[in-house]
Structure formats: structure tokens, C-alpha cells
Symmetry: none
Subunit: 369 residues, 2 copies
Amino acid sequence: MTTGTTPSSPPAAALGRVLVVGTGLMGTSVALALSESGVAVHLADRDPAAVALAVDLGAGRAEEPPADPDLVVLAVPPRALADALAGLQRLYPSSSFTDIASVKARPQTEVETLGLDLTRFVGGHPLAGRERSGAGAARADLFEGRPWVLTPHPSTAPATLQRASDLVRRCRADLVLMSPQRHDEAVALVSHAPQVLASLMAARLEQADPELVGLAGQGVRDVTRVAASDPALWTEILTANAPRLLGVLDSVADDLAALRAVLAGAAPDDAAAAVTDLLRRGNAGRARLPGKHGSTPATYAIVPVVVPDRPGELGRIFAAAGDAGVNVEDVSIEHSPGQPVGLLELAVRPEAAPVLAEALRRRGWAVHP
Amino acid sequence: MTTGTTPSSPPAAALGRVLVVGTGLMGTSVALALSESGVAVHLADRDPAAVALAVDLGAGRAEEPPADPDLVVLAVPPRALADALAGLQRLYPSSSFTDIASVKARPQTEVETLGLDLTRFVGGHPLAGRERSGAGAARADLFEGRPWVLTPHPSTAPATLQRASDLVRRCRADLVLMSPQRHDEAVALVSHAPQVLASLMAARLEQADPELVGLAGQGVRDVTRVAASDPALWTEILTANAPRLLGVLDSVADDLAALRAVLAGAAPDDAAAAVTDLLRRGNAGRARLPGKHGSTPATYAIVPVVVPDRPGELGRIFAAAGDAGVNVEDVSIEHSPGQPVGLLELAVRPEAAPVLAEALRRRGWAVHP
């Protein structure tokens, strides 16, 4: 993993010490990436257990910074941003500040209304995340190759923007500059409306007969995956961006009303034409999505092994891998409860795959090609 | 891979020779599974290239059956079913017939209207698929652990149902018996409405500014994945099931209208309450989806352990679990490449969680609450 400067990097002096406030998934991931790049990272959170886990994971230290940090990253809910910024700007009068909240226009207005030091603040939003939350789900590579929007204000000092840009670079994200309003228009389309549609679909399942739900497959699972998101956080996000979200939802409602009308009508050909038109527009829109990026570099090879479901079996497998000098990078188990065997998938570096497969075969396991 | 009978299997004589008509993704997958289980499979398709590919993949042979097959599997579009069945029932007067189309009520009505032999036909639908199509994407294990609905009619002969059930068993799917109407109600909810919502969302992206689409991430990718589906096939499916699909879409439209009203209204607290309510119902509905392999999500307890990233470490952990008599049901590793530690999450039966946590703590691992 790259950790240092490259010939095209700005001066390493840009970020020496950073305070991350909020050690949930996002804050801890930022802290892991910064620590890995050689920055001294300090961690703070209202919840001491969250900080302790982040510290154990190597994200940074729990002590207060001995001097003003170069940059304070506010990984707090959008509603809490302005107040937190007010207190911390007083505490650290020479620090720069940025945040990572997923709405930008309203918090920016609140910051301006409170009369805070706009030269030392630039809003930010890394377009990355997981459906899981908490420090335990954090990853140093969460932002790799993902867009990271900064929303500079005319008053933002160049040094502030430079430090925040260095944060983005060290997290290996792609810097995008936008106005807060433009950012919010974008996330209404690509994040907030999809969240609403996923929840609308999943809500249909709440009271449905189990026999019907039992036929669910991967399609509805994918459509509704983000419906598992945290209601408190997403209520804050969706209501903070209501005007722009409504623009997208209005056009969805128009299309939906038109579709229902032809499906309920007496002209099968009209219904077929309208359905085909919607499906084709869906094809076209779907095809415009950028390719998969930000996902973990899929450079591991998978070694699938059929394993009996009994205590100690996984231990013997992993012990055999260790004996063979192979480090298992990731693992998953495909296993129907009640079935006597499961399929274990071991992710290893490509050069280690044949070594591991041979070691396991020699000891009697069924390794699949 | 298991291929033979088990003590609980019906007589192996049930299926000796099967004709699969239509060698796309589904038909070829059925043929692969049947061939693997020892059945003599014959293949037919209007497109000779599709048959040739299926033959090369080992799905069966291209010759006509030398005698009436025990079962003919019609893997043709729903609109083509009744006519195809009429011709083949004349050609093979002693064969049983089933299909695999994703709508059941309208084709059943068409079969009855044509006066075909209802004793020799039972409708079927395996709830499986891939976003890829064609014989090349076929998999013998496509149906493994998935529901496979059969929709027997009062006239269906026991031998017909037995042969179709044997098909389901040989594909290692889970047999579900339903009326055609009930089946169509289920797929309207778990398949057809999700398709419409995915297309509605993806259609918003068709004309959107590239700068906005550029911020898209995994959430919108998942919500819109099925929007890439074939418009011709899905037009046929959605219009054939219009009455039941409309029932689901009406309730979506009602929820959407209510949400837009509060978001556009002047009462922020009302908006927040309504948004939270929708998100919570979405959480609840999402949680009702069956897990992988169609199983109900198991209620395991998670024991999170911080582990150094070095060969043998997982082996020592699993050995310790085995020593403590604890069976690890599932495992995942949260691990940033390059980080010296990872978070291992061990899923165990709830009563075993404290036993395992204590055993690991005693041996020096950092177990988090």
C-alpha cells in the first residue's frame, strides 16, 4: 500500500497533525488513511468505547493534540456541525476545519449565520460509505478512487483549501470542487432519491404475507439494500435537502402516475409501449453510471473449499494456511443452516493461491478449481 | 457436487429422459443440472447457435428424443407458452409438461382456453436468474436452495406433478406449491414492483448532467442494477401481470404522495416524523427478506476481535474457539490492506458468545463488547 509522497505530491508539510472528531465509520476511516500516510492523528468522540475501538484498530491516539492541529475533520451529523465548529474554532485559533457531512448547503448557511471564521472552514463530502456503521467497519481504503467534494466559499483561505485537499489526496480520493447547492443537487439525484425509492419498496414488505416474501431473490435484495440504513441519520439528511430531493421525487411521481394509468387502461398496446419506454429509459440511465470504483482492489485470488460444519474445522483450515506460510486476506462462508457442509472462500494474494490449494488438498480437503 | 439419490429421494425412475425447449440462460441451466443428475437431456431452440453452445457446455444433446420424453420443460417466453404446448402435446402424446415462465395466471388461462390436456401440464417458475442472459451464462447450480414454484391445476395428474417435482429436486431447488394467482401476487411484490422502481430511478439519470452522475456510488448502483434488464422480456412480464403489479404500485404512489406533501410543507417536525416513519418501515420490510440460500436470517451473536494481520493468527483464534467447544457459524474480516491489524467478527450461537469472548480474552486477544 502506498503511504508516502509521490513526485507529484504537494509538500509533505501540508498536514502534520490532524484531529478527527467523531469516530464512527467515516471518521475512523479518515483517521486510518491519515495514520497510514504518516500524519499524527488525534481522535475524539462523545462515546469513549468508540474512541477505544478506533485506537485499537490503529486509527490514532485518544489524547488531545499538544498544539493546534493543522486540520480538524468534523465527522459529526450535519445538524451538529455549526455548533461543533463554533466551539473548536475558539479552542484551536490557528487550525483549519473541514467536515464530511452528506448535505452541504444548509450547514454552510448555519456556519455563516453564526458568524464563524469562514477563512478557516471548507465544507467537504467524501462519496463513500457502507451499509454498516461504527469504527469496527472502518477501512483505510474506503475513499480510494471515490469522489470527495469540497465546497469552498469565496472567503475560504488558500491554506484551508490546501490542507483539506491534502486530506483528500492522503485518503486517495478524487478531489471535486462544487458549490454547496450544486453538491446538494447531485446527491439528491444519486443518493437521496435512491434511498427514498429503496425505502418505499422495502416498506411494501413490512406487512406482506411471509409466503410471498419467501419468494424474494437477489433483485429485490439489491433494490432495497440501502433501506437498511439508519433512520435517524437519514431523516436528518433527507429533510436537510428537501427542496432538491423534491425535484427528483416529483419527476418519479409523474412517471409512476403515467405508468399506472396505462397499466390500468383498456389498451394493451399502449401499456406495452409505455412500459417498454420506461424500461429503455432505465437502461439508458443505468448505463450512464460510472464504472465501479472505490471498491476494494480485487487483486486477491479466491480458493473455495468445501468444509464440514463442526467445531475446530475452520481452525484446522487456518492452521494449515499458516503452516503453508499463506496469509488469508479475507474469508466468507456460504452455508445453509442444517446442511452438513459449507463452502469456505479464502481470499489470498494470487501467488499464494496454488500454494494454499495444494496444502489443503494434501490434508484431505475438497478444494474446488 | 452431489449427483445421486439420497435415502429420502423419490424413485430414480421418475425422470429418465427430458426435453428442454429453449436454451437460454434458464433452459440451459435446467439442462445442466439434469445432465449432472444422470438424466438424458435433449435440447431444442429456434436458434441453432444457442443449442450448439448449450451442447458444448455439456447441457445435453441436440437430437430429437427417440421416444416420448418423460418431461418436456418449456423455457420459452410466457406469450409463446400455450402455442408451443399445443404443438408439443400432439407430438409427444405420453409426455408430461412444465414451464419456467415468471408469470403464471395468464398463460394458465390461455392453456385452458386452447383446450389442451391439463392432466399433462403443470406450470412452474424457479425464482432464480442472473442479470446476464444466454446459454453461456448458464449454471448447473443456478437453482440451488432457491424456491421453485409449481402451480398445479385440479386436473393435473399425479404423475405430472411427480415428474415436475423430481425436476425441482434434481435442480436442488426448494419446491413451493401455489395457485397461479397467488404466485403472481408474490412476484408482483418481490420482483415486478422492484423492477419498476429500479427503472423509475434509473430513468432520472438518462438526461442528468454528467457532473451530477459522476458522484454516483454503490447505493444507486444497487438500487438500479435490475434496470439493466431486457426491455422486451420485461414488458411482456409486467403487462402480463398488470392487475397485481398495479396493487403494489398504488401503495407506493400513496406513500410517495404523502412524503412529498410533508417535505414540501411548512412543518419541519412533521416532515421529519414522516420521513423517519418511512425509513423505519423500510428497515422492517428489508429485515424480512430471506437470507442467502433463501434461509431466514439466523440470529447469531457477533464476537468482534482485533487480530494482528499475520499468518497463523486466524488459525490460533479458531483453534481457541474449538478448544472452548464453540462452533463458529460465520466469520467476516474487516481489514484494510496494509493495516497491521484487522477486525474479525465471529458469528456464534448466542449462548456461546460469552464463552468464546472469555476464552479469547484469556489468551490475550482484544475482544470488543
